[in-house]
């Protein structure tokens, strides 16, 4: 029996590895072509070069777009995490209409981005609000809030409410209890929420496409470049850099999280 089971594990593991190959192969093409000495993103490869990276570093427009995306990502992730905190704090404490509020905060997940994008565009136009990074941030709040609330809710749910009672019993008021007990215990959840929201915002193309006006974010900039073959290698270099940076960030964050709790990656909580 042991042997049969062992065989099955190997079969499943082999399949899982194939699946990972399917996930990674396309992604790993980006770094591959980013070092390829040719403007055309096609085989055969024509030699090693680092020039696309120096071209990327020199690209002023790209740098502006990158900074725009960082600004939007930081603003959206911080704001949606703060709002997500209030949602998680209230909804894990039994309040009438709990399911209704939870459902409402999850609703953006069920609206395709294209619909959210154009309806926000209509609203901004009707209200005569000029399109800018601010409108993008507003759109990203709707986009990120379900993720932030989801991660934080799952963290708050695993949290023993009697700890707060104990703190109140020992003489702290509601606010001090939140800062001295609740906050430290949910800190890993906050970090996960910040990271997840940031990535969702940083990666969004459609909402920004409709709402950014002339303040291009990075995905909108990349979208424009994809049409000009001669600019593609710069974009690939940029994509590879983002891939590396986000991988390092995620691995570090998850490693940190794991030191606190033996649990699953943040994305599992969605």
């Amino acid at each position: 029996m042991t042997r049969a089971r062992y065989g099955k594990v190997r079969g499943a593991a082999a399949y899982a590895i194939l699946y990972l190959l399917f996930l990674y192969a396309p992604v790993l093409l980006l770094p591959l072509f980013s070092f390829n000495d040719s403007v055309f993103v096609a085989f055969p490869l024509s030699g090693l070069t680092g020039r696309w990276y120096s071209a990327m570093a020199a690209d002023e427009e790209m740098r502006i777009a990158l900074f725009n995306s960082l600004k939007v990502g930081i603003a959206a992730s911080v704001a949606s995490t703060l709002l997500g905190l209030t949602i998680a704090q209230v909804l894990t404490r039994g309040i009438p209409g709990r399911r209704l509020f939870a459902g409402f905060s999850n609703l953006p997940l069920f609206i395709p981005d294209i619909v959210l994008g154009i309806s926000l565009l209509i609203l901004m136009t009707r209200l005569a609000i000029p399109l800018s990074l601010a409108t993008v941030i507003l759109g990203h709040l709707a986009l990120c809030l379900p993720f932030a609330a989801g991660v934080l809710l799952s963290r708050f749910e695993g949290f023993d409410l009697s700890l707060e009672d104990a703190s109140r019993d020992l003489g702290e008021n509601a606010w001090m209890t939140f800062f001295r007990v609740t906050l430290p215990l949910v800190l890993p959840g906050i970090a996960a929420s910040l990271i997840l929201s940031f990535v969702v915002s940083f990666d969004d193309f459609l909402i920004a496409f409709f709402l950014c006006g002339t303040d291009t974010t990075l995905p909108v900039y990349i979208w424009g470049e994809l049409r000009f073959p001669y600019k593609l290698p710069n974009v690939l270099a940029l994509g590879s850099t983002i891939l590396l940076a986000s991988t390092i960030l995620i691995v570090c964050a998850e490693w940190l999280r794991r030191r606190g709790t033996q649990s699953q990656p943040a994305a599992v909580a969605i």
Binding site: P26, V27, P44, I87, I114, I118, S119, L138, A267, I270
Partner: protein, 286 residues
């Protein structure tokens, strides 16, 4: 005020900012979108009298119906295929893998990179001078590059499966992880072989994860804009391309709004139907 009322009042007060943000960034725009779909536009002037003109225009043009059906079919196929491909992986991670955490991380990492560039990578793989074609040529299997790989619905489905893979693995994994292993032991104890155990216990108990995965993939996939634009070609255009066109070149916002409302209605209806059907089917398993 009784303590319970005070508690609830404090709660609602604390919820106010979040709900206000959602109202302004989601409820209000969607409400306005609904209103817009009943309006008409003449040049730059928007006529706010309520009519069904936009919906009539959608119904009268079979081209819209075609793209609608194609989008739903592509999204449904992509979500089902993504689920079928991901299920064994989720099962492996939940029940057999030693380093669960590492596996989950490995599955999610590609998801943390630019979606645009991932879709673009598929264009490179499937394209005229792409990975597959250069491979085939190098092996002398074909003399000139084949062109049926890119710019068709199959390419869109394939790219969507890849793009939404974590949304399939993670919910299914979570539902499998919750299954008490003693239930599987009980099934074995009562006479089920491994295959029967899977169909009678594991599958019905993981149905919630399968449904979540379907909804999480089907909805954004139906409305996906980037994938059909980059790898779909003329025959792979989807509803998002049409909607975008109404806000761009065609400049007919009411029609775009009506298309969007129809999309939401169609995907919601299909999700509810699919979820109910799946639950029914699972409850038939005894």
């Amino acid at each position: 005020m009784t303590p319970a009322v005070a508690h609830a009042a404090r709660g609602y007060l604390l919820l106010t900012p979040a709900m206000a943000v959602l109202a302004f960034t989601m409820a209000a725009p969607l409400g306005l979108l609904l209103a817009y779909s009943f309006w008409t536009q003449h040049g730059l002037v928007v006529d706010t009298r309520l009519t069904l003109a936009a919906y009539a225009a959608i119904l009268s043009d079979p081209g819209f119906a075609l793209v609608f059906l194609r989008s739903l079919a592509i999204a449904a196929m992509a979500s089902l295929a993504a689920i079928v491909l991901a299920y064994p992986v989720a099962w492996f991670i939940a029940f057999r893998a030693r380093a669960k955490f590492l596996w989950l991380l490995l599955v999610t990492i590609p998801f943390w990179t630019s979606y645009l560039l991932r879709v673009f990578a598929w264009k490179v793989i499937l394209g005229y001078n792409g990975v597959i074609n250069s491979g085939l040529m190098a092996l002398h299997l074909v003399a000139t590059p084949v062109t049926f790989l890119l710019y068709n619905p199959v390419a869109v489905v394939l790219t969507l499966i890849h793009g939404y893979a974590p949304f399939a693995v993670l919910p299914i994994y979570v539902s499998l992880e919750k299954i008490d292993p003693s239930l599987l032991e009980a099934a074995a104890d009562l006479g089920d072989n491994p295959a029967k155990r899977f169909f009678r216990v594991t599958l019905p108990l993981s149905m919630s994860g399968v449904i979540a995965a379907f909804v999480l993939i089907f909805i954004p996939a139906t409305g996906d804009y980037v994938t059909p634009s980059l790898v779909g070609g003329a025959n792979g255009l989807m509803i998002a391309n049409l909607i975008q066109a109404q806000f761009g070149r065609a400049d007919n916002w009411p029609l775009g709004a009506a298309l969007a409302i129809t999309t939401i209605a169609a995907v919601s209806l299909l999700c509810v139907l699919a979820a109910t059907g799946a639950r029914r089917a699972a409850s038939r398993i005894r």
